[in-house]
Symmetry: C2
């Protein structure tokens, strides 16, 4: 298994010595998840942050009426986890499911804390990627409050250019917060207009 | 001006020596903002993270139809800033306005970077508070997709217990994403039901 993908991701924000990089790699656990299998189920306590080496995962919750709401997709190079559950160490609401056969490197919460102690510059790395993630959620929240469904769809295409053509439309709909039927009408209207 | 409020806030997550704490304080700039005045206006580049000593701020953007959408409120002990603008150093969409006379301690982006170099444990502090903030926005996003307006109103009361009775109802409405008229009907119905 090639670890250069995760090291390249980290090197964007912090510089690691060979020893630090080897130590970090030693803390990771490799896992393969078959399409439609779960990395995490609602009701479980999330114990890992996972970095996607190949494939794609999606994080979603199911509301009391049985509707699915998608929090995020994680294609290659993205980190995913139920941060609420992980930080509070209580059961979460998030399901994390593979959309295709997927490979991840998992960093357990325990190993992450060890890492912070031994290589404190990882505080910086996770501070920076958490800030970027925060910005994205703030933006999506404001978009949900202020943009039309069509504008949100176009933003979705910009955010996830690598997966837009490969994921089921009902999941795009669940992400932008409309019914699949509405999304279908909206796309037909948009294509007609261009 | 009493700096113990901000030091107490930081001490929840990291331990500072007297020297570190004095250095941190030396990087802060104190500012008073009169009610209805702005800490930041849309179109400006955000250069500071601000910690509220007293009073309350609100962060909001105005969409192309003139509607206000509230991203957050910052009562005493909360940090606020336009993180998108600050990280990218480009003009943002956020207005940050005082709801009452407010006092803040501002940490400039430049001083924050100095702080990370000189006292790296602040990476940890900001990593932790950014994670908590991220969780809150993820939760609010999922709430907006899955909860009714009434449930969102009740969540708002839990999130901001100290300000719920002192802020205009139209601002609560702008936060939960309904019209003020709808919120008014909803509260009447709720009170009737209890």
């Amino acid at each position: 298994m090639d670890q250069s993908v995760i090291i390249n991701n980290i090197s964007k924000h912090i510089s690691l010595t060979k020893t630090e990089s080897d130590y970090f790699i030693s803390l990771l656990e490799f896992k393969k998840i078959k399409s439609k299998q779960f990395l995490l189920k609602a009701g479980e306590v999330c114990k890992h942050s996972s970095f996607v080496i190949s494939g794609c995962l999606r994080g979603y919750s199911i509301d009391k009426n049985g509707f699915e709401h998608i929090l995020n997709f994680a294609p290659q190079n993205w980190w995913i986890g139920d941060m609420y559950s992980m930080i509070n160490q209580t059961p979460g609401n998030l399901n994390i499911e593979a959309m295709v056969d997927t490979e991840v490197l998992m960093l357990s919460k325990i190993n992450q804390e060890k890492l912070y102690v031994k290589v404190p510059k990882f505080e910086r790395f996770f501070r920076i990627i958490t800030e970027k993630s925060l910005i994205a959620y703030q933006q999506r929240l404001m978009d949900n409050l202020s943009l039309t469904a069509q504008e949100r769809y176009l933003k979705f295409c910009t955010t996830y250019p690598t997966i837009i053509n490969s994921i089921p439309q009902k999941q795009v709909a669940a992400y932008i917060g409309v019914t699949p039927e509405f999304l279908s009408k909206l796309k037909a209207k948009y294509l007609k207009g261009h």
